[in-house]
Structures are given as C-alpha cells and as structure tokens.
C-alpha cells in the first residue's frame, strides 16, 4: 500500500485531530462519522456521474467510502486493459495481469508466505534477456509466451524499470517502519536510462509509458525541479490521456511541497475537471492555505472552463450555492453543477425534522408533534437564496440536465409547502428525464412525498391518492429493488410517522399505533402501548377484523406485531398473575411459541441461581411453554385436593421463581412486547416490576414450609425463601435509580437475611445446611463472621 495513503489521506489519526477523546464527544458517542443519507429523499446518484459520488454530501470526508479506498489501485484496471490490448496475441490476459498487478490485497505479517513472486520473476527475466542464459523464470514463462517477441520483451523490461521506482512509491506492509518521512529514488543513472528509452523508442505506446515513468522517477527523486522541467519540455508532445493527468498531479504535488499553493490548487482543479478517475484525489489535495492563494489560483485560469473547474472543486469545501452561481455564469452546461446541486438539496434536507417529535427539555420525554406543527417547524428552514438560485436555473432550462433542476425545485417547493407548484415542476421534469430505473423511481418518490404532504386530514378521497405508493414503498421496493443507492427508507419511516400523526389527531389510537409502532428503546423492543388493557383489546379486534379498508390492510401488513404476539404477551401476563387457565388459553393461540422449550428445567430450585449451569444440566424432560403451564395447572389442582402438598408447593415455588429475572427461564418473558435484556434496567417500569417480583414464588415456598414434615425439607424451604428475600432487597434498592451508573456505593456488601439466621439457628444439623455452606459463599461468610 502506498505510504502516502497512510500518512496523508488517512485523516483520523490522533495527530490531525489532536485528541480523539474530544472527537468522540464532538460527534455524540462513537468515533465514526457514519453513512449519510438516512434523512434524505433525494438520491444524488440519480443526477451526477459516478466519479463524483465520493463528493456527495456526507458526514464523513467522502461519501459512502469514508476515505480514499483506491489510492493504490485506482488505475489497475486501466493499466491492465492498456497492456492487454498492446500484448494481444502475444500473452494472455491472466499472464499480463499476473505480471502487472499480481496480488493487490493488503499484506500483513501473517500471510507473507503466500505472497506471489511476480516481481522476482520479472527480475529474473530481465537477467535472462541480459545474459541470454535460461533460468527458472525464463523456462517457466517460455511455455506461456514467446519471450523472444519484441513486445513481450518490452513489457518485461518496462516492468523491470517500473519496479525499481515502485520500491519508493509503495510500502511493504502496514506494520513495517521507514525512518524517513518520504523515500526518494536517487539512482540518477537509472532515471537517465528510463528517459533515454523515452527519447529513443519509436513505439508510441511505449513512448507514452516511458514518458510517464520518467515523470514518476523524477517525482520520487530528490531533485524535483527536474520533474517540472521535464514536464514543461515535453508536455505538448504527449497525448492528454490518464497518464498525462497523473503526471500533471505530480507537478501539482511538487508545487504544493514548494509552498506554491496557488499553482498547485490551480493544477489540481484542472485535473479534477479533465480526469474523472482522479476526482477524489484532487478534491482532497486541493488545499488553499488562505484567501490570497485562492484568488491567485482564480487569476491563473485561462478561460471560463478552467475557472468553473476551480469553483467546482472549491464548492466541495465551501457552500455550494456560491459555487453553483459562479459556475452557472461561466458555463451553464458544466457537468460539475450536477454534483453541487445534489449537495445543495441534501444540505437542505439535513435540517428537516422527520421524527414528528420535539425536544421538550432536559430529562423530559420528547413531545409529539401534529402534522401542522411539524410543517411549521420545517418549512422556514429552507434557505431562501438557495431556493431562488434553483428556481432561476430551472426556469432557464439551459443546463446539461434540466430535469435535475426541475426535480430539485419541485422537492424544495414540497418542503416549503408549495404543493401545487411542486406538481408543476415535476411535470416539467418528465420532459427531460432519462429513461433509467433510478430516475423513474426518484420522480415517483418525490411526487409521493408531495402528495402525502397535501393531506392535512385523512378522508376516503385523499387516502386514495397515496395507496399505490404506500404499497410500492412498503411492500414492492424491499422485494424488487436490489440496488444500494436509491434513498427510499426515509420516505418509508417519514410516511409512517406522518400517517400516525394524522390518526393521532383523529383520536384513533389503534391506527396511530399501527403506523407509529412505539418501541421502548433501541435495544429493547418492549411496547408500552399494550400496558393499557383497552388499547390491547382494540388492536386485537382490529387485527382480527376481516373487512379492512385498503389503508388498514397496508397498516396491518407493515405492523410488526401479529395476533400471536399479543396472545403470547397476554399469556405471560396471566402467568405472572397466577391465572393459569387463562394463560393456557392465550398460549394456545400463540402459534409456535407454545412449543418452544425452556433451556433449563423450570421446576428445579437450586442453591445457586445459575442459568448456564441449569441450561447445561441433564434434563430428562424438556418442558415447552405449554407443557410448563399445563404442569403448573395439574400441580395446582393437586394442591387444591391437598395432595402431596409439600412437593407440589415446592415445585410451584420453583416454577414461578424460574420465570422471573432471577430464574433459569427468562426466555419465557423475553418477547417483543415485554422486551429483551439481561438487566432489569432494559425494561420499562411496568415490566421491570413484573419480572423482578418473587412474591408468588415466596408464597408457594411458605406453603411448602408449612407442609414440610422433615427438618431437611424445612431447611430447604427456608433457604429458598431467603433467596426471594434477597431479591426483594435488591429490587427495592435498584428500582429507585434509573441506570446502572447512578448506583451509589453504599458500602453494604453483606446482609444477613432472616432466612439465613433461622437456618443457622435451627437447622445447622441438616445435610441441606451443609450443602448451602459448601455452595453458597455468601452464606458461608455469614456463618463464619
């Protein structure tokens, strides 16, 4: 990998940012400036050439890639195809590629053994040509190509020289160290011999490549002035191809190093303009130090196109508006306008609040907005001068892609609340719209956003204007669209929130929930809507009702919870309330959930609460959730008949213990509506209370205690009750604080529960007592204190 890539293009080292610690804070928790576009309905790929895509608006340095990922490989394909054409009929493509590029994956210590030997073989072939004596490489390759052929020989000899220079331009591997800032290539004889080939060869293909190789060698030498001299002397005679612009970038780089920033930036802008392959590199290298540099660069531009190029690159760093304005004046047909326009529109979108929620102050939950409130917040955010500029250019219709300006204008009109004119702009765009999938989808999406925005109150009539598009967004696109670029996800979530807000305004909590599914938090799916019994019943009625309207069907289709999930929730709730017959009824309507097995035996009660131990322990019978409930029911019936009271009570105590947070059967309650999490803090208060409460289990242990006939049995009950007592203590202690971090160290690290005291006082002669001492260090400590 090229050294320059590490030292220059890799931005986020602690040096360039001073201290990463600060940056973590600066971007709000996480040291990555992530993918951008989640807030967007405007896909820049619809409008600008691929070579601009890293320059689309991003939270990162470069859009979608973060940093330049091709610094060492961007011309590989190019070089391969150039040489493959040159050597056609002389050597096959695989051979050409092997010698040219070989293995272009980054290398690490560990895989050094596997590196291919193409470079060594080139050197050997060079020796073969020099001495005319066969060696391993010549024998091997003579079978695949004619080594005597002039073109093959030229190819190998070129590579031999190119490799010499590569030793300074490309580093070995990441974990190696070079004590100098930049290596230089100072074999003047070698440089001269490369230049000599350039001067003498008559083959134009080779001449061009030796010209570039001379430039490259001079660039890496310590006499960089000569590189510029050579370039100036020969520039007019070389074709203006990629090699030319690569060489011109070297000249720009040398000027930068010499602190001639104005020239450097001027040259970079010209490369940016003419060489799409180098757009990302030149955009990054362009670097005026101050205003004087910038103005000097502008003054150097020989014509409008060159000036426009400077503004185009400048617009990547600076506000796009001015750049668009200047370029439009200089060259209305400039391709650079396209990418700048996408940045301008994306920037407007960035400020939009799509959540329909508003900050209500510190430590206060977000306030929900109505559709009208949301528009009042968003509409003034559209920059007036940006709007005027887009309006002007769209009206003139004299750019390379008029549809870009019509769509941009239409979208900005939507965002401003001018829906009628937005429609007109979209209609106008159709006339010049290219016949691509992306363009068609973009137009449809923007029309939909405009149409939904027109609706302030849902009616049977206006509902019809959005149904097809809702289906397209929610159901068709996720299945049919295989690309990555098209930004429709924001429209999906925005339209759901929009509809939910409309239903909220209509006092229709069920439909508001259907479109605006409330999740407890990012990490925990729990849904508090179901804590309200009426809500729960109403949404069940809605989901099971057969004669749904179109929009209701769409809603039910996208709603992540199904009847079975709600039944499952009711089963869990009923179990915790000890209404087992009810629970069985619901569980039977919870589809496959009823057949899911507990990981451990839910009727076991051990001295230590250890899920993992219980899960790996041998289990003669695996209990499904339904088995579990049925078994509880049977035991309760026996208990009611006073049959085997001790055992049944003990097992029931264990069963109810195991489905709490402390037991071995947490999966029983970990469902979408309750939530997931290994800490009770992950759960909303109502659920936290339900899953940490051990009263039910304690009640059964008490019953078992009362029915116990032996001391061993009594000791066991007492100990199991003290576990409940312990849990209760921690519930009280921790339920009052909001998070793990707020827990104060109160220095209490040991409490003698009543159960412990009784156990020691009255049951120290039992075997169970000895078991507890052996297994429970806590109790052991208590006994020995």
């Amino acid at each position: 990998m090229k050294r320059i890539f590490l030292s220059k293009l890799f931005l986020a080292s602690s040096t360039s940012l001073l201290l990463i610690y600060g940056v973590i804070y600066a971007c709000g928790g996480g040291d990555d400036w992530d993918y951008f576009g989640y807030n967007s309905n405007f896909t820049p790929e619809t409008f600008a050439d691929k070579s601009y895509s890293p320059l689309f608006l991003a939270g990162d340095v470069f859009y979608a890639i973060g940093f330049d990922t091709e610094h060492n490989s961007r011309f590989n394909e190019n070089i391969k195809s150039d040489w493959a054409t040159y050597l056609k009929g002389k050597a096959d493509v695989a051979t050409v590629n092997y010698f040219l590029i070989g293995d272009d994956k980054p290398r690490y210590y560990s895989d050094q053994k596997n590196t291919i030997k193409n470079k060594e073989e080139v050197a050997q072939l060079h020796v073969y040509y020099k001495n005319k004596k066969d060696n391993a490489a010549s024998v091997k390759w003579a079978k695949k190509m004619s080594l005597k052929d002039d073109k093959v020989k030229s190819f190998i000899e070129f590579l031999y020289l190119a490799q010499k220079i590569e030793t300074v331009s490309i580093g070995e591997d990441y974990w190696s160290y070079d004590p100098v800032v930049a290596r230089t290539f100072n074999d003047q004889k070698m440089i001269q011999s490369i230049e000599n080939v350039y001067n003498t060869t008559s083959d134009s293909f080779l001449k061009n490549r030796y010209w570039f190789l001379t430039m490259k060698a001079r660039f890496y030498s310590n006499d960089k002035k000569k590189a510029i001299e050579f370039f100036n002397k020969t520039e007019n005679s070389v074709p203006k191809n990629i090699l030319y612009y690569r060489a011109l970038s070297y000249v720009a780089g040398i000027n930068y190093k010499q602190k001639k920033y104005a020239v450097s930036n001027y040259l970079y802008a010209q490369v940016f303009d003419k060489c799409p392959e180098l757009r990302i590199v030149t955009a990054y290298s362009f670097h005026p130090k101050n205003d004087a540099d910038w103005n000097k660069s502008l003054a150097m531009a020989k014509n409008n196109k060159e000036k426009a190029a400077l503004w185009a690159i400048h617009g990547y760093y600076k506000d796009e508006k001015e750049a668009i304005e200047k370029i439009y004046e200089l060259d209305a047909k400039s391709e650079h306008l396209n990418y700048l326009a996408t940045r301008l529109v994306n920037k407007q979108e960035q400020a939009i609040n799509n959540s329909f929620q508003q900050n209500a102050g510190e430590n206060v939950p977000m306030k929900n907005q109505t559709v009208a409130e949301n528009k009042t917040e968003n509409q003034p955010k559209i920059d007036k001068t940006a709007y005027a500029l887009v309006e002007k250019i769209a009206a003139a219709g004299n750019t390379e892609r008029p549809y870009l300006w019509d769509l941009s204008l239409g979208y900005l009109q939507t965002l401003k609340g001018d829906y009628v004119n937005a429609d007109k702009s979209f209609d106008k765009a159709v006339k010049t719209l290219p016949k691509t999938e992306l363009a068609a989808m973009q137009l449809r999406l923007l029309r939909f956003v405009n149409n939904l925005n027109k609706i302030d109150q849902l009616t049977d009539k206006n509902e019809k204007t959005i149904l097809a598009d809702l289906n397209w967004l929610y159901n068709e696109l996720p299945k049919t669209y295989k690309g990555q670029e098209f930004r429709y996800q924001n429209a999906v979530s925005w339209s759901k929130s929009y509809l939910s807000a409309l239903y909220k305004a209509k006092a229709d909590p069920v439909m508001a929930e259907i479109f605006g599914e409330s999740r407890y938090s990012y990490w925990n799916d729990g849904n508090a809507f179901y804590d309200n019994e009426k809500n729960l019943m109403d949404i069940k009625i809605f989901l099971s009702r057969p004669n749904k309207t179109e929009i209701e069907k769409i809603g039910a289709g996208i709603y992540s919870l199904k009847l079975k999930d709600i039944n499952n929730f009711q089963a869990v709730q009923a179990t915790f309330k000890n209404k087992i017959s009810e629970a069985i009824g619901y569980m039977q309507q919870a589809d496959s959930v009823q057949y899911q097995n507990f990981l451990g035996n839910p009727f076991n009660g051990n001295i230590k609460d250890c899920h993992d131990c219980d899960h790996v322990a041998y289990q003669k019978k695996k209990y499904s959730y339904l088995d579990f409930l049925n078994t509880i029911k049977t035991m309760q019936e026996k208990l009611a008949q006073k049959e085997d009271v001790y055992t049944n009570s003990l097992l029931l105590g264990n069963a109810f213990y195991n489905i709490t947070h402390f037991g071995n059967g947490r999966t029983f309650y970990e469902i979408t509506i309750v939530g997931y999490g290994s800490s009770p803090y992950s759960f909303r208060d109502s659920m936290k209370k339900m899953i940490t409460n051990c009263d039910l289990s304690k009640m059964y242990y008490q019953k078992a205690f009362e029915a116990a006939t032996t001391k061993e049995q009594k000791a066991k009950c007492i100990y199991l009750m003290s576990k409940c007592e312990r849990n209760q203590y921690y519930n009280n202690k921790y339920n009052n604080v909001n998070s793990y971090w707020e827990i104060q160290d109160d220095k209490i690290n040991f409490i003698a529960w009543n159960g412990f005291k009784t156990l020691q006082k009255d049951y120290s002669d039992t075997r169970y007592y000895q078991d507890v001492i052996a297994e429970c260090g806590y109790f052991n400590t208590f006994v020995n204190q």
Partner: protein, 328 residues
C-alpha cells in the same frame, strides 16, 4: 527514629515532581524555542507519540497510523514511546490480542532500532470503555510480559471515579489526563478544563489504588461552530492570532465571528461561522496543580505537559512550569 524522621523531611523537600512533556507531532524536530524550554526546565524525559493503532477501514484489521519520524538526535533525553490505541480496535470482534501486542512491540522496537534509540518504559494511551475493558486489560498483560519494560498507561477522570467498574490495568504507574473534561459544544463551556467538572472527580483520587502522575494541558484549539453546531476542531489557534485577523471579529472574550468567508490555515470559514477558543490560562494551571495536590494520596513523580509545541508555549510566562511543580 530521629534519623528516620529527618530522612522523611529531607525527602519531602527534594521530591518536587519533574517536568516532562508529551510530543504529539509526527515528525520529531525541535525548534530553538522548544529546546530552550527543555533546557530551562531540566527536562530529561519526553513522552513521544510513536503511532496510533486504528482499524483498516476496509478489512478492519488493526494497523498503525503515521509512525513517528525523527529528524533530531535524542541522545540527551529519556524517551518514553506512547502508543495511542483507538477504543474501536479493542471493540472489534475476534481480535487477536496477543498478535496485536506482539506487533505493537515489534513496531516500537523497530522504530527504536532504526533511530538508534532505546527505552525503559512504554506508555499505552487508550480511552477504554466497559465493553472494551476485558480486551484492554488482556492487552496490557500481554504487552507487559512480552516487552519486559516498565509500562504506564493514561487514565481518564471517569476511569478513576468508576474504577471498580472500569477496572485498573496492570501497569506500573498511571498518568491522569487532567483535561478533556467536558463536551465539545457550541456554548460557552470549556472542554479542555472546567473546575466544576473536575470537582466531581477530584475526591475519587484518594481512593484510586494505582500510583498516578499528572498530565496537564497547555494546548489551545478553536471549536468551529456553524448554525449552533460544532463542525470541527481547529488546532493551533489562539485569541491573539484571531484578534489580528481582519476576517474575524471578537464578540466576547473567547468567541470570534467570521466577518468575511475565508481560508485560514487551510480551513474554509463561512461568513457568520463562530470560533470558540478553548485554552488554559496560567492561573488555571496553578489551580489544577493545587487541587490535585490537595486531593491526591501520593505525590506525583512527574508532571507531563501536553503538548510540547512552541505555539503552545508562547501563551505562557517562561517560568510557568516551575510555578506549577512548586505547588506539589
């Protein structure tokens, strides 16, 4: 008994901490001014950032970034290489900690070898979190064993206060980073040093079981604000420089407004952008030293200033470093 007592006293008098510096640039070269400061303060020890470790953005393997290059002989100083490990390296799934420790030592040794240097101590700088704690502690263990050198680590304030949760790496000593206290924000707070924030942590120092030296800030930077949002940090900026720049207008003691859009030090400033200069005054430094002295269980052996750069130094009186250590 008498002898013992007098020893104690004489110890106390002599054990003023030494002054040292962090050097955080990628090419080691000292200006005349910097050399002067080192000489005047009898600096013998410099902590030099050797490289950072980050994840390769494409294949997410750990890689070193911008290793240090020396353009100055270091024979006069004891050099402590500092390696900054990004937390995300340790958060990476399936990371081979032993291999990482080996490679890190390998590169430190290679840098020393190529530059004909040696070191007795290596410092690891990492803002580890609860989720990376296990990997970090393991890394330190391996690193210590493999390197056979004295190992120190930087310690953040929250790691002192919550050490029972964040744990303490098994190092020979720690350096408390007494800066970067707050959020980098558009408001008038100072993220470099804020006494109110510091007070929340100071009391915990007494309970911290690891010996700590102290790192104090002498850097300043500009917080670049656009539309009330922080868009970046601009290093090496101070109040006097902006006062002299006609493109900027001072609107309060450390806030500047951009009057005319312009390029400065290679950054583009739009009209109406705001720059907030965050810096630490001499008085702040003395206050920090006094607070630390009052609250620490043991005297520090060293006070390390972050970072050695003539741009930073010119903001203070010449004897500021002596003033600071005299507080201990």
């Amino acid at each position: 008994m008498v002898l013992f007592f007098s020893l104690l006293i004489s110890c106390n008098e002599n054990t003023k901490p030494i002054v040292s510096f962090y050097y955080w640039k990628t090419i080691f070269k000292l200006s005349e001014k910097e050399k002067e400061i080192l000489q005047e303060n009898n600096v013998r020890k410099i902590y030099i950032r050797y490289f950072d470790i980050d994840l390769h953005p494409k294949d997410t393997n750990p890689i070193p970034l911008t290793p240090i290059r020396f353009q100055e002989t270091m024979s006069d100083f004891e050099v402590v290489p500092v390696v900054f490990i990004k937390n995300k390296v340790l958060l990476r799934q399936n990371i081979d900690i032993e291999e990482l420790a080996q490679k890190t030592i390998g590169l430190v040794n290679e840098i020393n070898f190529e530059n004909k240097m040696d070191c007795k101590e290596i410092q690891i700088d990492c803002d580890w979190t609860l989720s990376s704690k296990d990997n970090y502690l393991k890394f330190i263990e391996k690193f210590k064993k493999l390197s056979g050198k004295k190992i120190s680590a930087t310690i953040r304030l929250h790691q002192v206060k919550y050490f029972k949760k964040t744990k303490i790496p098994n190092v020979d000593s720690g350096v408390l980073m007494y800066y970067n206290m707050g959020t980098i924000a558009a408001d008038s707070s100072n993220s470099v040093y804020d006494k109110k924030v510091a007070e929340r942590y100071l009391k915990s120092l007494k309970k911290y079981p690891l010996h700590l030296d102290f790192a104090l800030p002498i850097y300043s930077w500009g917080v670049h604000v656009r539309n009330q949002k922080v868009i970046g940090l601009r290093s090496k900026l101070n109040v006097s420089e902006l006062k002299d720049d006609k493109n900027f207008e001072q609107i309060s003691s450390f806030f500047f407004r951009v009057k005319h859009a312009n390029y400065k030090n290679g950054t583009f400033y739009e009209e109406n952008d705001v720059l907030k200069i965050e810096a630490v005054s001499s008085d702040d430094l003395i206050e920090m030293a006094e607070d630390l002295n009052d609250n620490s269980p043991q005297k520090p052996n060293e006070i390390i200033f972050y970072d050695l750069d003539q741009f930073n130094i010119k903001n203070y009186e010449k004897n500021i470093f002596k003033q600071v250590i005299s507080c201990f």
